[in-house]
């Protein structure tokens, strides 16, 4: 995870209870107040619902009705112009051709939309150097495995089957928060000695061997019981970069890239 995304998202988990791992974070807080989500859906009803769910979950929401509009807000439409300009950082607002480039922390988009599908929007975001680090969640009323797989392969963070519920939004938010916590913890861990890492690794392995075989459910629990300052260099079990293949126990409709803490 590049330092770019850490810097831009550092403020986010500070809003979470009990976490304040970054001492000089106040400078990042000036403009932002909480998680900002860009919601994309052509259906008015769905936009209202997702907006409501996000606001209840203390997120700022910008809701648009098309992928085209989303790209425009992100400043990705006129690609050539933006690349040449100096202001291509997701942590700053800038004007380009009269538009303010939106700063978002999460994009949640419907799959089936006229014009540009959610999948196409996902691809465009992942192709962008500026925004490829931003998690993208896909929503769809159809529970099609091939579709889910395709989106996850393209880099989607999660896939929600509609109707979207509050628990879905909460889960995403928790995943984002814990992902950022881990990412910053990893950064800080690297600058410390390796002794702690090795110690933890040993006891971690011990706890693994004594717990049930299902990886996705047991390891986060033993991980969480440690003090937050000790972070193992994550084994591939719950690394946030490569997708975790869900265990066969997971419901296919709720496939997650990251483990979730239920």
């Amino acid at each position: 995870m590049g330092s770019n995304s850490v810097a831009s998202n550092r403020w986010m988990f500070e809003k979470m209870d009990g976490f304040d791992l970054s001492p000089n974070s106040s400078s990042d807080n000036e403009e932002e107040e909480g998680v900002h989500v860009l919601a994309v859906d052509d259906s008015l009803a769905d936009r209202k619902v997702i907006e409501r769910l996000l606001k209840i979950s203390s997120c700022k929401v910008t809701a648009v009705d098309s992928g085209w509009r989303a790209l425009k807000l992100l400043g990705l439409l006129d690609d050539e112009e933006d690349k040449s300009s100096s202001s291509s950082s997701s942590s700053s607002s800038s004007s380009s051709a009269g538009f303010d480039v939106l700063k978002v922390d999460l994009i949640i988009t419907d799959y089936c939309m006229p014009g540009m599908t959610g999948y196409e929007l996902l691809k465009k975001i992942k192709e962008s150097t500026t925004f490829r680090e931003i998690p993208v969640v896909i929503m769809s009323s159809e529970n099609v495995m091939a579709r889910i797989d395709r989106c996850l392969e393209e880099g989607a963070e999660d896939f929600i089957v509609k109707p979207v519920k509050l628990s879905d939004v909460k889960r995403i938010r928790d995943c984002m928060a814990s992902r950022e916590v881990r990412s910053v913890q990893n950064q800080e861990e690297r600058s410390r000695s390796n002794i702690n890492k090795r110690k933890l690794q040993e006891s971690f392995d011990l706890s693994l061997s004594s717990s049930p075989p299902s990886i996705s459910s047991s390891s986060p629990l033993s991980y969480q019981s440690r003090s937050p300052s000790l972070t193992p260099s994550p084994p591939s079990l719950f690394s946030s970069s490569p997708p975790c293949s869900p265990s066969s126990l997971d419901s296919p409709t709720r496939r997650l890239k990251m483990t979730s803490f239920d």
């Binding site: 008015l44 009803a45 209202k48 619902v49 509609k162």
Partner: protein, 147 residues
């Protein structure tokens, strides 16, 4: 006393919601959304209801089943999102008929859809009015606690 009106309204609303839930007109999705409403958006649920419905009615001629299917999908999606269970179910049947190019089936489904949609709209309107009255009555009862 006005104060008693608040409790009665609340009870009436709960009763109506329970009936609609029992009839399958509304499902858990609606109930969850209902709980998320507050004074700033007292009835956002019924605000989003009309989306897509007009499109379905325009397809009355059934000349283009594919287009109809698209509109139905949209309407089905939004119905499902707000918890309009029976409306969504009729859409499912409607879509099946249109996929088979079954004109008679589509006509029947459209009739049913109009019936269900009107019923739902009226009930949501009732709920909305009750909610409005309740807010007003609560304000009159405790004038210092005006929202």
């Amino acid at each position: 006393m006005l104060g008693w009106g608040v409790d009665r309204l609340r009870a009436d609303m709960s009763r109506l919601l329970a009936i609609l839930f029992h009839q399958g007109v509304l499902d858990e999705q609606f109930l969850q959304l209902q709980q998320l409403q507050d004074e700033s958006s007292p009835n956002f649920v019924s605000e989003c209801k009309t989306d897509g419905y007009c499109d379905c009615r325009l397809d009355r001629e059934f000349s283009d089943y594919k287009k109809m299917g698209i509109h139905l999908n949209q309407f089905m999606g939004s119905s499902s999102s707000i918890g309009a269970n029976r409306v969504r179910n009729v859409c499912v049947a409607f879509r099946a008929a249109s996929e088979q190019n079954n004109r008679a089936g589509c006509l029947r489904a459209l009739e049913l859809l109009e019936h269900e949609y009107c019923y739902l709209k009226n009930k949501l309107h009732e709920l909305f009015q009750m909610e409005q009255q309740r807010v007003l009555a609560a304000g009159a009862r405790y004038p210092l606690q005006q929202h």
